[in-house]
Symmetry: C2
Subunit: 195 residues, 2 copies
Amino acid sequence: SAQAGLVPGKAQVYLCNRALWLKFHRHQTEMIITKQGRRMFPFLSFNISGLDPTAHYNIFVDVILADPNHWRFQGGKWVPCGKADTNVTGNRVYMHPDSPNTGAHWMRQEISFGKLKLTNNKGGSNNPGQMVVLQSLHKYQPRLHVVEVNEDGTEDSSQPGRVQTFTFPETQFIAVTAYQNTDITQLKIDHNPFC
Amino acid sequence: SAQAGLVPGKAQVYLCNRALWLKFHRHQTEMIITKQGRRMFPFLSFNISGLDPTAHYNIFVDVILADPNHWRFQGGKWVPCGKADTNVTGNRVYMHPDSPNTGAHWMRQEISFGKLKLTNNKGGSNNPGQMVVLQSLHKYQPRLHVVEVNEDGTEDSSQPGRVQTFTFPETQFIAVTAYQNTDITQLKIDHNPFC
DNA sequence: GATTTTTGCACCTAGGTGGAAATT
DNA sequence: TCAATTTCCACCTAGGTGCAAAAA
């Protein structure tokens, strides 16, 4: 079934590795966060169409709280446990390294975020802009943003409707410092070649 | 001593790892070429200044024949041996992956060509544009080119004087399929961390 | 035969994994 | 004690080396 409706003048975005994301999502995806930063697995990867081939765009991901809860793993299940910590600091945006670039470039091939890293280290960012700062035991929702920009990469705030945001619920995850659900651990081992 | 004179309106280029290049040059540098492509060691790396920070440039390296001879290693020395094979085909240009980019970008940090690969495979290029095709037992001279371009990366041939070329004789080398001079082999082992 | 090129390989760098143990 | 985090480590992928043997 289609992942997004086809609307004239709008970009269409498909989640490339959706089947894999769904396997994890069934068990409630967990992502490890570490001080020095940990890649996501699965990682975000998109196909995009419907852009103006000659226009310029920035494409980036941000990660927002998916719900207002603090979570804990108890009795083999994830259960809400108090309110989320909303005293938030730290970068939650990861600009794709190809940005800015033309619509033709973005539509030519998969747009992968394999080098995006998750961390719980609010302080000294070693790789500025490469690290997304999250809080453990909170549930998050990644989002994709497509922003039309001028040729020099600057945004033109005088022109409305140049920002498009895409959300895929199957990419939600709970940030952890160690895996809680052994089903998730096994899925990581089975599918991540580094394991 | 200065590597290039300071001329107003002209870019100045410095060879970053010149001391290392000179160590090899004293013994006549050799570079391995293979079918699937071999990196150079030392690799080309430059600092550049004197560009217009807001103008756009393509920066690339090409590799030309350094002399009209075919060479052979005999009695522990390189000696000319007949004429160079000038029936030439295959790409000899390697565009820096950051191209096109602004003068500010190019002047901000070292411009390294560490991923440039040398091959003797004229035919199927697996990495188009990433491989420089050379002939074994010929002597070559790499050159750096700085070309001012329009914002979209296209050249403007109607404007003269937008191309600048820089040549460093200490980066000359003879292409080989196996090292001939053991002094060169030892220098590679001593300085290349992969050995 | 002699020279040049190719192939396979052990070894290296570089860095991404989960697990166990130690720490907080 | 317990839960959560950090550290260390063996093991993995990925790919750049020179070398010896084989092939051309």
